[in-house]
Amino acid sequence: MRRILAAAALLTGALTARAQDAPPPPLSPQCEAPAVDIAAPAPLPHLAELLGKKPSSIRILAIGSSSTWGVGASSRKKAYPVLLRGILESALKGTKAEIINRGVSGEVAQTTAERLRTAVALDKPDLVLWQVGTNDALARVEAGDFEDTLRSTISWLKASDIDVMLVGLQYAPKFARDESYTVIRAALKQVAVEENVLYVNRFDAMQFIAKQQDAANLMSPDELHENDLGYECMAEHIGRAVIANLFVRRRDLPKPAPPAAQP
């Protein structure tokens, strides 16, 4: 039931967006996965407002660990933030997307959260993409501590009028049934729902693709990190979620104002 509601909500969101702006960027055939499994809708109020002003550029902080830095990609240019930039720029015609990569491999959420505050204060991004959870699961961080870290950082970002989008753990067959992995994934999803922030469920997306196709397609030989195609799909899913959810918030506004009208 919840899933249907979410699907309906996403559809409304997507339709609203579609009515006024370019449609969300399409997924490559290899990356196809049901939209609702990838990202439940949640607002990106600050970014939506900013884009309404037709800015010449937006700034995104991509922070996280190895998947942000791009371990497993064949070159630095195949890391997801670089690919995402192309996707967003072609969707937001005329607006440049500057994506700052602050991925430090092996980092747990708490360490990233500390870095995040300084990075946000210095780089002043419009959107923070926080790829998080894998290292906490593998380092056996307590789910409660993990949730607290996420919550305090998300509330701080919200209070500071900066949109945040959580990018979840990757699907790796060897961790699919790992208890800690499952617990951290659930905690991440829980926080995203409670805080009403966008969450890209990388695990489900990758698992879906893996079931449809050969799992090895998305994974590098270490079976933990993604390969070029995996990062391509990651970037596509994130890009699609950003664009599709830009205007979700309008449903909550008393009278839907055109994005150009500013108070």
Binding site: V71, I100, T111, V120, L138, S160, E223
Partner: protein, 455 residues
């Protein structure tokens, strides 16, 4: 702050230590430990009177003759000779300087840095960072600056020509650089070995190591250029830059000491105003310890250690400085206890001046450091008389800070592996801490043993 003995006997580099440490009386290791200079005990702060009184007598006799000065109350094995450092150096030439305040705090900071580098260890709740806005890293860098002053004020360096000083300090910078390269390579090998042993390639991601295994071409260039730093292996790159830039401070201090701190503050202010920092590569980012900002902690140590100028002023107003430090220290304690820090985004630009940030050694953290120095500086002489073994233990570590730091860094990585495979918990963490600190002490002991063997 110093005695002649400390200056004479200060040698910082292994080479110089070897040169200064030929024991003319065949002083063995065990007999060295009999030597404890009370006059040096307060970091050279006090007991000049004892020194004056004892100096001539000591000068006139061989080391063995001082046994008569041993206090009867002290056990035979740990007898204490009332030797001044100066005369001990002249006559006995022990391989290393006696325990003192700076070495003690440095050694303690090294132990605390070890704990801070093992995330999740139960003792992390008992380190300085829990009770203060700044942490052991600041203390370590401050004391490195202090040590630089002891070095340049030593008779050996004081008379050196400018070019000689530059050469001396740059060679020290190179030693630190070499140490960084060696421990990084060992850490990488440990990481790889851990991944093989635990059959978990994700270990290769730990501590920002993956670039080396993923992009070896770029990463190796980065390692040598110090633009690629493993997590927790990022203090020595700062130290290399500080030492490489140290001749500027030292030579300026010779000509115009009043300009050193203003220059340092100007660089600091420019760094914080612009947010400038050295980039990391191939991992996009910035240095964890921003040299432009952290040089202030180093320079403060350098200037406060001086007998004249700022250092002299502080010494003349010790009580006032201490009283002024107390409220700042307490404020830091409260802030750290409640985890309070100003919201960076609600601060006016330039934000870094008011933020609590370690990378940029922001003013709050510098004040935190200075309050610790103001309040606790000199208290060593209060506990030194009854904490002899402890002060000797940590001073030995502090005397060999580079070697101990290097081994400590590797031990902290080893501890990460131990905790990963065995799990944490009070028992394991206690074993980890005890064995690590013991290894760090043995490192210090071996370093000194090696120097004595050379002599």
């Amino acid at each position: 702050m110093r005695t002649g003995g400390r200056q004479k006997n200060w040698p910082e580099t292994a080479h110089a230590r070897a040169k200064a440490s030929k024991p003319s009386l065949g002083l063995t290791n065990s007999s060295y430990w009999l030597v404890k200079s009370r006059s040096l005990g307060a970091g050279g702060l006090g007991n000049a009177r004892t020194r004056r009184l004892l100096g001539p007598r000591i000068k006139s006799a061989a080391f063995g003759a001082y046994r008569g000065l041993f206090r009867p109350a002290i056990s035979r094995r740990r007898r204490v000779a009332e030797l001044s450092g100066k005369n001990a150096a002249v006559h006995a030439k022990p391989a290393m300087r006696p325990p003192n305040e700076i070495d003690f705090w440095r050694g303690l900071a090294l132990a605390v840095i070890f704990i801070d580098h093992v995330p999740g260890i139960v003792f992390e709740g008992y380190t300085l960072r829990v009770v203060a806005v700044s942490d052991a890293a600041e203390i370590f860098v401050f004391l490195a600056g202090w040590s630089l002053r002891l070095l340049v004020a030593s008779r050996q360096v004081r008379d050196m020509s400018a070019s000689h000083v530059v050469l001396r300090l740059e060679s020290r910078a190179f030693t630190i650089f070499a140490a960084q390269i060696v421990i990084t390579e060992i850490a990488l090998a440990m990481t790889a070995a851990g991944a093989i042993y635990l059959e978990n390639p994700l270990v290769l991601d730990w501590n920002n190591a993956s670039a080396v295994f993923e992009n070896p071409m770029e990463a190796h260039v980065g390692l040598v250029l110090l633009s690629h730093q493993l997590g927790y292996f990022d203090i020595l790159p700062l130290y290399v830059v500080l030492m490489a830039g140290a001749p500027i401070a030292v030579l300026l201090d010779r000509r115009a000491p009043a300009l050193v701190l203003p220059l340092s503050l100007a660089i600091y202010a420019a760094t914080l105003a612009t947010g400038a920092n050295l980039p990391t590569w191939p991992v996009e980012g910035r240095w964890y310890f921003n040299p432009g900002a952290w040089q202030l902690n180093f320079t403060l140590g350098f200037m406060l250690a001086a007998k004249s100028g700022l250092g002299g002023y502080v010494r003349r107003h010790r009580l006032a400085v201490r009283l002024a430090g107390i409220p700042v220290l307490l404020a830091g304690l409260v802030a750290a206890h409640f985890g309070w820090s100003p919201d960076p985004l609600s601060l006016p630009e330039p934000r870094l001046f008011l933020m609590f940030d370690k990378t940029y050694a922001t003013p709050a953290r510098v004040l935190g450091l200075l309050s610790i120095v103001a309040v606790f500086g000199g208290c060593y002489k209060g506990f030194e008389p009854w904490a002899g073994p402890v002060t000797r233990f940590f001073s030995t570590m502090g005397r060999n800070s580079l070697n101990v730091f290097c081994v400590g860094s590797l031990l902290s990585l080893m501890a990460q592996f131990a905790r990963f495979s065995l799990g944490g918990g009070a028992v394991i963490d206690t074993l980890v801490l005890i064995s690590a600190v013991a290894c760090m002490y043995v490192t210090a002991w071996l370093s000194e043993w090696r120097e004595r063997a050379k002599a």
